[in-house]
Amino acid sequence: MRPVVVAGAGMIPFERRDDDSLMDMLAAAGLNAMDDAGLGNLPVNSVYVGNMASGLFNHQVSVASALVDRLSLLPAAADRVENGPASGGSAIKNGFLAVASGFNDIVLVVGGEKMRDVIGPKATDIVACMTHPEAEYIYGLTLPSMAGMFARLYMEKYGITREHLSMVAIKNQTNGLLNPYAHIQMKITMEGILTHPQSHVNSPVVADPIHLYDCCPVSDGAAAVLLTTEEIAKKLKKPLVTIDGVGQATDTHTLQERSDPTDLKAVTLASEQAFKMAGIKPKDIDVAELHDAFTILEIAESEHAGFFPKGEGAKALERGETQIGGKLPINPSGGLKARGHPVGATGVAQAVELVWQLRGEAGERQVKDAANGFSLNFGGFGNNVLAFVLRRKS
């Protein structure tokens, strides 16, 4: 396989974007990535769009075909990639394979979702369509309720407390203040969301023990990366950041079929694959973007990806190791918790953040001397997971 370089990275601020259509957002992010690469007149061969549910959220399908035309990239090949909240990660994987295999030389990967066209309960319902129709959905199971059950088990098994969950929320919202693309720009305190006797009014129960501030917001947004060969990338203007490792694994559709529901096997397997392919270990990673749709997931994923032994993720959090400036900064972008989680965009936005970090372009949230980055895009409730290792080339 040929080395694959992320030559361009761009996104638009994640927020509620009433005035933009899904296509406006995808196009803007795509243009930002192409501009960032300084692509000029070089032809884009393929466009992959990570998007989970434009048909349900926006009554529009075939968005990849529409985007190619909107960006005047005809006759580039166009595919929409749907893999739930891991759609963005899957789109990158497909783009990576196209370049690595020699099928294409230049590929644009865009992830985007416009979720705020519908009201909150409807958005929750649309996202819940990824659960098992007969075994889960019909009983009213939603992603927050899955997170609640998972959190309860994980907390009991590993001695994690609500204070740990709140520490993740506070850390990531603090990081979000340093990211102009983040949806949530608000510093929160332990008193305000947990320890004050009336904090339950500010952060009400969503699905016990998950409270409001344990959940990511519902956002609109898009992000894009331009992938190409090392040969072409060297002619462009940006420092080289390569995708050195890609991993993907699946797990049972229903949670009830897992022998241990607290064991995120697909996270472990996908991460192992990515590290093996990159030829490095978790200890070599300088910065990580994990899929903290719920605060408990950041802790659990940090353990399952191999950064900390099981039960030690929360202790590392307590010690400040996952803060910017710590041993392994996790989610310097603010993560899904603060940057936001337009589902199809997330996996691509994680890659964009890593590219900026590895190039030294992350501004106030820059992780010092970051050379190796890791991202994890978590689909379903861990039933389809993608992991990536990105590295800066000297």
Binding site: R16, G192, S199
Partner: protein
């Protein structure tokens, strides 16, 4: 002013008990002081309401225009039995709520307008006006309606309001009732605040009602990117 004619024009007023100020600790750790506004406070409050007339999002323009008219009407004695509560953080006005009493037993909730978003300011202020209606004035029921989906979700769903017959005085929309029983059922979950307000906090709030600039208010309402009609 011809007070003889004025007497005919002014609606009669009930004596209402005072609403004791309270302080709510927000998610940011900030302290939201909620206290009763007097007629004399209305001109400065209107300065904070005026910028919202430009904002189409979430029906801020309609809510702002109506709040403006309701408070102006109260200020100039053209609305009967209205009260207004306001929320301040370090003196800065971040929201207002108002209600009109149809009778001693029945209230008509008018509006909740928050100019700071993402901190449940509106929810805390709405809860405060219901607290005033039920716990201090002693009402039996308050009729409520919503002009935006956010309001509908927050009031009608969170408080399990009961659909009533007839028309709400805000545009004739369907009225929903919050009974005393329902209020107390949800109080622990939705009503926050501590009394007495520490003296220094109250002094800051009472010293001056600070109004943010129009740009700041619009940015707070619309988010990071300005999108004014």
């Amino acid at each position: 002013m011809d007070m003889e004619v004025e007497e005919y024009l002014r609606p009669p007023e009930m004596d209402l008990p005072p609403y004791p100020p309270k302080v709510v600790t927000l998610a940011t750790g900030g302290k939201l002081v909620i206290r009763q506004a007097s007629r004399d406070d209305v001109p400065i409050i209107l300065e904070a309401v005026r910028p919202t007339l430009k904002v189409e999002r979430d029906f801020y323009d309609i809510v702002g225009a109506r709040v403006y008219a309701e408070l102006l009407g109260w200020y100039r004695y053209r609305v009967r039995d209205e009260f207004c509560l306001m929320g301040q953080i370090d003196g800065l006005l971040v929201g207002v709520v108002n209600t009109r009493l149809y009778s001693r037993e029945l209230g008509i909730s008018l509006h909740t307008l928050a100019t700071e978003r993402g901190l449940r300011i509106g929810a805390h202020l709405f809860a405060a006006k219901m607290e005033y209606s039920f716990e201090y004035i002693g009402q039996e029921e308050v009729l409520i309606t919503a002009e935006s989906p956010i309001g509908f979700r927050r009031w009608m769903i969170e408080y399990e309001l009961i659909l009533r017959e007839g028309q709400h005085e805000l545009g004739g929309a369907a009225p929903y009732g919050l009974t005393k029983e329902l209020y107390y059922k949800h109080k622990d979950r939705l009503v926050a605040g501590e009394r007495p307000v520490p003296e220094e906090l109250l002094a800051v709030a009472e010293k001056e009602i600070i109004v943010a600039s129009e740009d700041d208010i619009l940015e707070k309402i619309l988010g990071a990117r300005r999108k004014v009609r």
